[in-house]
């Protein structure tokens, strides 16, 4: 605890005294200060939340009281509050009870009640999800169908419409209506493919990534492997392009396994080949060898399957020859000899069989070269699976950027989030409740800008992806000071989606917003930020913004960033060159050093001098 903070018990004492005097405002203020200490010990913090809950109840704020009870309360303590809060809060509370219930039958009935409340609040997607969790697929299906119709007729959000159709397909399958499921799958695929292409066209690859993940899920649900394959190939491509190499390699492995399970050996072998090439390019020889050996095994499986199917022997021959090459490339010559033996036994023309028999003899005494071959090691794997975006993203769409709702979901999920994160989300929700109206049709109420700035500051501390949507909504506020606070908050959100709002901020009519957005850019220096940063650098007319982008790029240690910065030194304006030199002098990435050294001989003399200066500043001499 820092020196400036007062102890929690002292603040609670002050609140109690103020309350006894009838000064509820002061009591609230003292407890509010206590709750700001989000890294306090759990026992102390819980008592403070209980005090605040009681105070808010006394002040006739049941929503705030329930929010505090969500943090550490129980069903019993929440039960009495439920009749006093709107349906949306009741629904969320009931959903949490059902999720935690170990009695399956009771959980089902509570899910049903939660769904009823969501429906009463006009929240179709969340009602449908509650119905699904309660295994009431018939009513869930009706809700998804309703949502699909709404989305198809009223919005241009192809992604949300695609997700709704997919949910309709899933629930139709579970209710045994194959024809309706098929129709919904067709529509979902169509919408998601188009959405993915649009996202990629406007440079939002991360959104396209979500579309392709859903395509994989659609393929799995519908049994149409083509969708699984298309999804995986595109997911792998996007991960490669974003330099997320461990994710990409893991995804390749998953795709190979999926293809193999489906009996699509040729597709699996092709994926193994691409994985080997990629792993070698990324300097991971043992993973490359592993993929190469997998490729050899899979091509042999292709040949065996071809023989079983009775297709022309040339198909089996191709499979075995591809396996020969894969084994040859890894120096597994004994295995090559065995494969030639198999080739010699195929019912091919005599000359060919003689040739293969002769080739086999060459490897009789050959030995396999010792190689290091292993899959991606466990410590580089990411075991957290892809979220069910077909639910999560529709919930986000339905919440329309409500900070109270997004934060509420975090508070109610102790299994997924740490206490500190939940405390911060709780505070953000308490602030948001006062600012947001329950009814979306109600005209927005206006509060002082300072209230929104405080909310942005609190949201900033949560740092979770689900908070981006409320920040994006806050950014549409008319007051520049609010937008500045939002942009400042965004600098803590290391997601590609953050750049969507930042790019808007960079062309804001208010100079303070632009200035803060340029500063925020410099904080977003993760490897897959290369594309949006490079785009901002190329498109911005503002030299300060370009300089910020260059500073961020100089801290990204990838070959593409190094190549681009060397290009800036060679071809761009004097101002940009100076900014790049300054940024490169301060950064320590080895990729720029390696690339500059390799290209040094081909650089113009003036650039050589500059590069030499930069490298000298880093202690490297050329």
């Amino acid at each position: 605890m820092s020196a400036g903070l007062r102890p929690l018990h002292e603040l609670r004492e002050e609140a109690r005294a103020a309350y006894n005097r009838g000064d509820t405002a002061r009591a609230k203020n003292a407890l509010w200060q206590a709750l700001q200490q989000t890294i306090a010990r759990e026992e102390d913090y819980v008592v403070a939340t209980t005090d605040m809950r009681d105070l808010l109840l006394a002040m006739n704020d049941p929503r705030g009281a329930l929010t505090l009870d969500w943090y550490a309360g129980t069903e019993r303590s929440q039960k009495n509050l439920l009749p006093r809060v709107p349906p949306i809060d009741r629904a969320r509370t009931l959903l949490a009870w059902a999720d935690r219930s170990s009695d399956r039958d009771r959980a089902k009935s509570v899910y049903a009640k939660a769904a009823d409340e969501y429906e009463a609040a006009g929240l179709v997607a969340q009602a449908a999800i509650a119905r699904e969790r309660g295994e009431d697929f018939l009513r869930a299906r009706a809700l998804w169908s309703r949502l699909s119709q709404i989305l198809s007729s009223t919005t241009t959000d192809l992604y949300a419409a695609g997700l709704a159709r997919f949910n309709l397909a899933r629930t139709s399958l579970r209710t045994g209506d194959a024809a309706a499921a098929r129709e919904a799958v067709v529509a979902a695929v169509h919408l998601l493919e188009e959405a993915a292409d649009r996202y990629e066209t406007i440079g939002q690859r991360e959104r396209a990534f979500d579309c392709y993940q859903v395509l994989i899920a659609i393929g799995r649900e519908s049994g149409e492997f083509e969708h699984v394959l298309e999804g995986y190939v595109n997911v792998n491509r996007i991960l490669r392009e974003d330099h997320l190499r461990y994710y990409a390699l893991q995804s390749y492995e998953e795709a190979m396994q999926a293809a193999e399970r489906q009996g699509e050996m040729a597709a699996a072998a092709t994926l193994a080949r691409e994985m080997a090439v990629y792993a070698r390019k990324e300097g991971l020889p043992s993973v490359a060898n592993f993929a190469m050996l997998a490729q050899a095994r899979l091509w042999q499986a292709v040949a065996e399957a071809a023989q079983r199917r009775g297709v022309p022997p040339q198909i089996a021959e191709n499979g075995l020859l591809a396996s020969v090459i894969a084994c040859g490339e890894t120096g597994q010559y004994r295995k090559v000899g065995e494969l030639y033996g198999l080739l010699a036994n195929l019912p091919l023309e005599e000359a060919r069989r003689t040739h293969y028999a002769r080739a086999k003899e060459r490897y009789d005494d050959a030995q396999n070269l010792p190689i290091d071959a292993a899959p991606l090691p466990p410590h580089l794997r990411h075991e957290v699976g892809f979220p069910e975006v077909w639910h999560v993203d529709l919930v986000e769409w339905e919440q329309q950027g409500s900070a109270a709702q997004a934060a509420g979901d975090i508070v109610l999920d102790p299994a997924q989030w740490s206490d500190v994160t939940r405390r911060r989300a709780m505070l953000a929700r308490l602030s948001a409740l006062a600012l947001e109206s329950i009814d979306p049709n109600e005209p927005p109420r206006r509060f002082p800008a300072q209230s929104y700035i405080a909310l942005a500051d609190q949201l900033a501390l949560v740092e979770l992806y689900t908070i981006l949507s409320p920040l994006e909504r806050l950014f549409t506020h008319g007051e520049a000071s609010v937008r500045v606070a939002v942009v400042k908050a965004l600098s803590r959100f290391l997601y590609k989606r953050t750049f969507i709002t930042l790019r808007a901020a960079l062309s804001d009519p208010d100079a303070a917003v632009v200035h803060e957005a340029a500063r925020a850019l410099e904080e977003l220096r993760f490897p897959h930020a290369f594309d949006p940063l490079a785009r901002i650098y190329r498109e911005s007319q503002n030299r300060d913004v370009r300089a910020s982008a260059l500073r961020a790029l100089a801290k990204i240690d990838t070959f593409e960033a190094a190549e681009m910065l060397l290009g800036v030194l060679q071809h761009d304006s004097e101002t940009d060159r100076a900014a790049a030199v300054e940024a490169l002098r301060r950064s320590r990435g080895m990729k720029f050093t390696d690339h500059a050294r390799a290209s040094f001989g081909e650089l113009p003399d003036a650039v050589k001098v500059t590069v030499r200066e930069i490298l000298h500043a880093r202690g490297v001499y050329v």
């Binding site: 695929v189 394959l229 190939v233 491509r237 040339q314 198909i315």
Partner: protein
């Protein structure tokens, strides 16, 4: 000849083990050497020369043996004797390989030889780890090679030979891999290049495409499938049509022609009536059997290259596209190929009867699909084409059955072109369910089971090829729309409505 850029490479022939019968043959080796450098495969001239000759020339056109005394090599290369013995061992094994035995019969173009050499020797170049001390630039002059053997000691001494030495060491170390690649060389692909042409986009790009095709195991399946169905296609002849040129025999009667082919009974009309018939173009002439006077159609073969096509679907679609393209070319039609996924890729035209085979085998689509965008672009392209080109476009679509093109987009394309489609049913799906099928002039459906069975697959392909001929030439609806084997499903009854028939005149 004092330039080290010429004496350097030529002097390396002192290490050569292959002596061609004619100097002219060596000029091809110069071209191969240049081509390989362009592909980034830097090797000494002697190695390119020797291995190239083995794979490109019949055995009787060259002798095998050292062209200069070992002492010449030993003057610059340590352990020259042992390294040359190892090289000789490799050359002997290559000569004994099936690929070397059969490859000369394929009469490969220089582009193809370059690609084969890159495939075989790329690993050697990667192992060398040294750059030549000269920049190779051998003049293309056969006279240079006349009596060159006598000058080899002097030429060999004109440059440092570490590069050649490192190469011989790399050959020794990588011998087994070179032989593995030679034994596994896909001669069928080379044969297909020979049959269909590989020069449609000649030059470095063609080489890159061909190399990618040779390196791609999936391409081998397409090649085999194409070779399976092509023999029936190669029987195709240019369709006879009535023309006016004085060649071949008479095939009928028409209203165009010269005076020497006038139907004699025309002269029986009185002068006035004959003059009127001449003015109204009613006079009859004997018409000749020959190709059409001018092309009337251009065929766009649109192939789905999205990731979901991988595997058997890709083999069938591309094999069918190659065979359809060849068939149309043999019929005298103009053909162009286009791949699509979420983009509509660049048009690749067949030129001089040659199909861009390497491109078709090697093209790799990695994106998803966006049929609405692709067909909107196609409609725009066709609209522009129709403004400057009177020929009628015919679109042949090869895709899988989940291609959900918005109906209005198909209608937009249909305004400008005839459309025929081959749809491959997805796994686990038994029904083609697309709302635009009735807009197509013809369509065929191939199910997953058919793709999985070799003979059924070829039969399905041949059936479609046979029927597509009818659908693109006859006024009647194609046979597939009336009947067909179970694996090649006919389209829905709605596709048989008269309005869907090709217009009179036989255009698709």
């Amino acid at each position: 000849m004092n330039e080290v850029s010429a004496t350097g490479p030529l002097g390396s022939l002192a290490l050569s083990l292959v002596r061609p019968a004619a100097s002219m043959m060596v000029l091809r080796a110069v071209k191969w050497h240049q081509g390989l450098e362009r592909l980034g495969v830097t090797l000494p001239f002697f190695l390119v020369h020797d291995v190239g000759m083995i794979f490109a020339s019949p055995r009787e056109q060259y002798e095998v043996g050292l062209r200069a005394d070992v002492s010449v090599a030993a003057s610059r290369i340590r352990d020259a004797s042992a390294l040359l013995a190892a090289y000789k061992h490799l050359v002997d094994e290559l000569l004994a390989s099936e690929a070397a035995r059969r490859a000369p019969d394929l009469k490969m173009t220089d582009d193809l030889v370059i690609v084969v050499l890159s495939r075989l020797l790329g690993s050697v170049a990667a192992r060398v780890g040294a750059a030549p001390p000269y920049r190779s630039a051998v003049p293309v002059d056969a006279a240079l090679f006349d009596g060159i053997d006598a000058q080899l000691p002097q030429l060999f001494a004109s440059a440092r030979r570490e590069f050649e030495a490192r190469t011989l060491e790399a050959i020794d170390a990588g011998r087994l891999f070179v032989l593995t690649m030679a034994d596994a060389l896909d001669l069928d692909t080379l044969r297909l290049f020979g049959m269909l042409g590989s020069e449609a986009s000649a030059g470095a790009m063609a080489q890159v495409d061909m190399l990618a095709a040779l390196q791609s195991p999936e391409a081998n399946d397409i090649v085999n499938f194409s070779l399976e169905i092509l023999p029936s296609v190669l029987e195709t002849k240019t369709r006879p049509a009535a023309g006016s040129t004085a060649a071949h025999g008479y095939s009928g009667i028409g209203t165009r022609g010269s005076i020497d082919s006038l139907v004699l009974t025309e002269l029986a009309w009185d002068d006035l009536e004959l003059a009127r018939r001449l003015m109204d173009n009613e006079v009859l002439y004997y018409a000749r059997e020959q190709s059409k006077d001018e092309q009337k159609r251009i065929h766009y073969l649109l192939i789905d290259a999205s990731a979901s096509m991988r595997g058997d679907r890709q083999t069938f679609a591309r094999g069918m596209a190659i065979a359809t393209g060849k068939k149309l070319l043999l019929e005298g039609e103009e053909v162009a190929f286009r791949f699509f996924d979420s983009r509509l890729y660049e048009l690749q035209r067949a030129r001089n009867g040659a199909i861009p085979t390497g491109y078709l085998l090697a093209f790799k689509g990695e994106h998803g699909r966006n049929p609405a965008r692709v067909f909107a672009e196609l409609a725009t392209d066709l609209d522009l084409l129709r403004r400057r080109d009177a020929r009628s476009p015919v679109v042949h679509l090869f895709t899988h059955a989940a291609l959900y093109i918005p109906r209005e987009m198909v209608q937009a394309v249909r305004v400008h072109a005839q459309i025929a489609g081959v749809f491959i049913l997805p796994s686990g799906n038994k029904k083609l369910d697309l709302d635009y099928l009735d807009l197509l002039n013809a369509h065929w459906v191939v199910d997953h089971a058919t793709l999985a069975s070799g003979s059924a697959r070829a039969d399905a392909a041949k059936t479609i090829l046979g029927e597509s001929k009818q659908s693109t030439h006859d006024d009647a609806p194609p046979a597939s729309l009336r009947s067909g084997p179970a694996s090649v499903r006919p389209g829905p009854p709605s596709a048989r409505s008269p309005s869907m028939r090709p217009p009179p005149g036989g255009a698709a």
